[in-house]
Amino acid sequence: MVATSTRSPEKPDVLVEVEGLQTYFLTRGEPMRAVDGVSFKLHSGEVLGIVGESGSGKTITGHSILGLVEPPGRVVGGSIRFRGRDLLALSDEELRQLRGDAMAAVFQDPMMTLNPVLRIDTQIMEAIWSHHRVSKVEARRRAVDVLRLVGIPSPEKRASAYPHELSGGMRQRVVIAIALVNSPALIIADEPTTALDVTIQSQIIYEMRKLCREKGTAMIWITHDLSVVASLADRICVMYAGEIVEEGDTEKVLGQPAHHYTRGLIASIPSGSQPGEQLPQIKGMITRYPAADQGCRFRDRCPAKTDLCDTRPPDVRVSDSHSAKCHHPAHASAALAQESVS
């Protein structure tokens, strides 16, 4: 119900504000700049989709917000504000208190996210107990409630099962239940449906969307699949090589993509084109530039590249709620879609 109202930019209740985030992996040799200057805002109740190819830094962005980046990875620059507090300045304990309470996470592979030797209810109750002092009976009641909420049949019985006794879809529901149990303000869902079957994937997306709408929870939905966020997100960030190259309302980004990378991505989805025809494709593959490089990171693969792209960092606002890191944003979509075909 709040979804539509919070989306308007005038509303000041910014929940998360990421500013110039840089997360590097300091391994042998040159650091791996997994996230390199990512900025975005997320309002309460809003669903933000982060899309991008494998390795573009989506997961690490999510982990940086949650404070889960592990050595050799480190947040080396930028700031993350959650309800106005700088997360990077918090102590480990303060961060822990936030995690799982005010902000929760759902990971990709439900087979791996649940501890195989602990029962489902234990894993839910420990999430409660890590943040609230409640009795065992109460904790268990909450656990069963939240399991029912995510659509697990006969939750009282299932609560005492071990993870391996559940199917993949059920397990992912349990993971979502764990994320929801403390009624967080923010859920970071990292490809939560990628490991699931098509029909189950649809169910999960459908239910997640419903839950967030009902509870007014904000969500960051990370995926490599544009069509998944299309039906889900209010706004979309497109990541490429550690940067957000385009950001905006879902309809804008998908309907009138400004960055040539976004356009290429959309065009290469097979269901969008006529069966049997050549799919438009982005030429080449991702290029890693040296740290000192100032130019556009997509320039090698871009159909609209000019000399300008080699030297200056691009940044363009297409409209109020739509921006792209491109010197030559595409306006007339039809013409450029043809161009990006190699």
Binding site: R99, D109, M112, E126
Partner: protein, 325 residues
């Protein structure tokens, strides 16, 4: 489950059969105990008589057949050397060996798991590296040599601990135990430590590897994302996943400890069945050798069975039904 136990028992019976066959043929090639047991001034006739008395003059397959027939009734033959039931002779020594093995195992677990866990939690820290390198040293030391060095050091040079024997024992439910008296404890310490050193190293390495592996699992990261406290993550999420396989391997290793007590018992004159085996081999006391092996097979079988059953109870993922071995 029934099927599973049945399979195990049949398998063990097969091992026992094969082993007894090998030993029968093998020790027959080695010689006969009469030559050793007879005094030097015994006449040829005495020797021939003795051979006949022990039934060693009959063809080997006949002897084996007699053995099998008796074995089915639980009689594994009479020791050539002491005339007692071979099985009883071995079983009499069993408690001493079991006690030594149990103490060694406990030492190995009590020392190995914490050290390994510590090393695995921070694999790049200095203490972790120290632990891992010393475990390699312990891995490399031949048991008998450690025994010698320990005796040399603690018994001879320092005189702190006795150099061998079992010391005072106290009887509990008919079992003679050393660990209940101070003297007994002193006696068991060195052999048990010697026996456990290799296992300590093994358990350290297993635990450390397991800890590193488990620490990197998604569910540990997810527990952190849930806001679970570090202590609980370490001791519940990680340790619980690490300890189960380590315990299983350790239990399997128990059989090995019993086998290796052959060496330790020889070095320390520990009156267990390992020493008995060496003596029996030396004396070509075939019934005792066979009885020892059969007792070992039984122990290993029961051990494996217990391990598997306990494991299937403790680890929710395992079910014995689906296991084909």
């Amino acid at each position: 489950m029934t099927l599973y136990i049945l399979r195990r028992i049949l398998q063990s019976a097969f091992v026992a059969l094969a082993m007894s066959m090998i030993v029968f043929v093998g020790l027959n090639v080695v010689g006969n105990p009469v030559d050793i047991l007879m005094p030097a001034d015994a006449s040829q006739q005495d020797i021939a008589d003795a051979i006949a008395r022990l039934g060693l003059d009959r063809p080997l397959h006949e002897q084996y057949f007699v053995f099998l027939k008796n074995a089915l009734t639980g009689n594994l033959g009479i020791s050539f050397v002491n005339g007692q039931s071979a099985l009883a002779t071995v079983v009499e020594r069993l408690p001493a060996t079991l006690e030594l093995a149990v103490v060694a195992m406990i030492l190995a677990l009590v020392i190995g798991i914490p050290l390994g866990f510590l090393a695995g939690l921070r694999p790049n820290s200095l203490p972790a590296k120290a632990i891992m390198s010393s475990s390699i040293v312990a891995f490399s030391l031949p048991t008998f040599w450690i025994g010698i060095v320990f005796i040399m050091l603690f018994a001879v040079q320092l005189g702190w601990l006795p150099s061998g024997g079992r010391g005072l024992t106290r009887s509990v439910f008919g079992l003679e135990l050393s660990v209940l008296t101070l003297d007994g404890l002193k006696h068991i310490l060195l052999p048990a430590l010697t026996l456990s050193l290799f296992k300590i190293a093994l358990i350290i390495r297993l635990t450390a590897a397991g800890t590193v592996e488990v620490s990197g699992q998604d569910y540990v990261k997810f527990a952190r994302a849930k806001g679970v406290r570090r202590g609980r993550i370490t001791y519940v999420h990680i340790l619980k996943n690490v300890i189960l396989p380590v315990m299983t391997v350790s239990a399997m290793e128990f059989g090995n400890i019993i086998a290796f007590s052959v060496v330790t018992e020889t070095v320390y004159s520990w009156p267990g069945m390992g020493k008995l085996l060496i003596d029996a081999i030396r004396m070509v006391d075939r019934p005792v050798v066979v009885a020892y092996l059969i007792v070992c097979v039984l122990i290993f079988m029961i051990l494996n069975l217990i391990v598997d059953i306990v494991y299937s109870i403790l680890d929710p993922r395992i079910s014995l039904k689906s296991e084909s071995a």
